[in-house]
């Protein structure tokens, strides 16, 4: 297979297969979760809890608890740095926005490429540090399972191949672009069936927790 054939395959059938599996898996998972249902709350409600649900989505990302911050400072800060770097890299690079625009029908403002290049490097360094922490910390190492390392690699590869493609490192650009898109396809395929689903379920569970907290208690 030539570089062009490979690139055409990943931009076409490869991406189509990956996107079908991704959307299928995520829809299946979300439907299953939502259809679990909840027991009827027989107590009188303090409020609807809807607002508290939305507030909790954001407040849980802020470590107000000084006790746990002291113990997990590294996880907290490296997690923030990585996720922010990944978010900027995925959503604020012009070629990526063009991809979203092609199926959403609209695009948005992009950052200059060297800035996104820097955020990608920061995200990769944070990921490497997180992996090092996981391997060297005895508790984390004990708690880690094979899937934790797999999802780490699945996330790291698109960043690495994207960085290599932008800088034309080691291979010709069409191969690198193909590798980059392929790594994203693999990520999409595994996404619904691994811990990576937290990218979506995180907001749902946080909202539920906040909403239930908001329902309880005595109205002032």
């Amino acid at each position: 297979m030539s570089a062009v054939d490979f690139l055409l395959w990943v931009r076409g059938p490869g991406l189509a297969i990956a996107s079908i599996i991704f959307v299928f898996g995520m829809t299946l998972k979300l439907f299953e979760i939502f259809m679990l249902g909840r027991k009827k709350n027989l107590a009188e409600l303090r409020g609807s809890g809807i607002k508290e649900g939305f507030v909790t989505i954001f407040t849980r990302s802020r470590h107000a608890d000084t006790y746990s911050t002291r113990h997990t400072k590294f996880t907290y800060y490296s997690g923030w740095v990585f996720h922010l770097g990944l978010f900027i890299t995925v959503f604020l690079l012009t070629p990526h926005i063009e991809l979203f625009k092609s199926f959403l029908g609209f695009g948005w403002w992009a950052l200059p490429t060297p800035i996104v290049d820097l955020t990608a490097v920061i995200a990769m360094i944070a990921l490497l540090a997180i992996l090092f922490h996981r391997i060297t910390n005895p508790v984390l190492k004990y708690l880690s399972v094979g899937q934790d390392y797999v999802v780490w690699a699945l996330t790291f590869l698109p960043l690495l191949t994207g960085y290599m493609a932008y800088h034309h490192l080691f291979f010709r650009y069409e191969w690198l672009l193909g590798f980059h898109i392929l790594s994203v396809c693999i990520l999409l395929v595994f996404f619904p069936f691994t811990k990576l689903t937290h990218a979506m379920t995180l907001f749902i569970s946080r909202w539920y927790n906040g909403m239930m907290g908001g329902e309880k208690g005595v109205q002032q």
């Binding site: 570089a3 055409l8 931009r11």
Partner: protein, 365 residues
Amino acid sequence: MSDDKTLAEVLRNQGVSRRGFLKFCATTASMMALSPAMVPRIAEALEQARRPSVIWLSFQECTGCTESLTRSHTPTIEGLIFDAISLDYHHTLQAASGDAAEHAREEAMKENWGKYILVVDGSIPVGHENYSTIAGISNLKMLEETAKGAAAIVAVGSCAAFGGLPMANPNPTGAAAVSDIIKDKPIINVSGCPPIPVVITGVLAQFLTFGKVPDLDSLGRPMAFYGKNIHDRCYRRPFYERGEFAETFDDEGAKKGWCLFKLGCKGPITYNACATTKWNEGTSWPVESGHGCLGCSEPRFWDMGGFYNALSTPTIDIAKTAGIGLAAGAAIGVAAGALNRAKKAKATREHETVTVDDLEKGEKS
């Protein structure tokens, strides 16, 4: 017909000065990324070179490649060099036709067997022998016959090099590249739709100078001309870096000369000399004239997901395919959810309550 005049004699007869000739040699050396010390060697080799016999076969093509090579605004030195080769057969340019033309080809082949250069433009239809014929001879047969006695083959244009537009999906004629058919001869692919005129004369000059095929890339193209990426050599590259893109062909960005990536420029995956050599005697090139690069020197550029779609976009309708996933996921998700609920309800129904007394009885027994 081939004659015994050297290239230098031919050029002198055409009024080219020694100075002009050396200037051409220096330009050629520079284009081929050779040391300036090589200029005298190129000059010497070219001066001594006998006019090589060239047989030019045109198959499934549009004559754009021939136009590109022959149509110069003023008689350029490249044009003269082109005249200086002994072009023994070219059915667009030659005066002869019919049997006489074919006879000329056969004679040239016989006279220069094993020494002539075969230039091919156009793809070869292998779907059926009658799809494209010359004097009743199928393209495939003519290529196989003529290639046998060639010293080397130069596949001019993307059709001969990679199949080109005739090979575009669904490739109705079964179009194939020269390298798909001929396996036992050195083949130099000079791709482009059409290729830059100076690139073909440069390749011929290199062949005449060194008597061997130049360094080729993985696609069989001379590294000297196809070694660099358009995107890397593009004068609009700083706008790409700054995130300044033209959104349409007539917006402010387009007027300011911003990057054409969003308008489908395929520069990042294209290797050619356009950005440096330019066209029409160095006047301009597609990106400079405001249109994105089509990637015409690359294989399958015609099927690369649309000329005006950004390179990072999919070549298929992702929204449609994702819709299939959404519908299937929703249907199976609802079914799985319903099954789970039914299982839960069944478990609740079948649940038998146990009292303390029952447990105590159980312990006693």
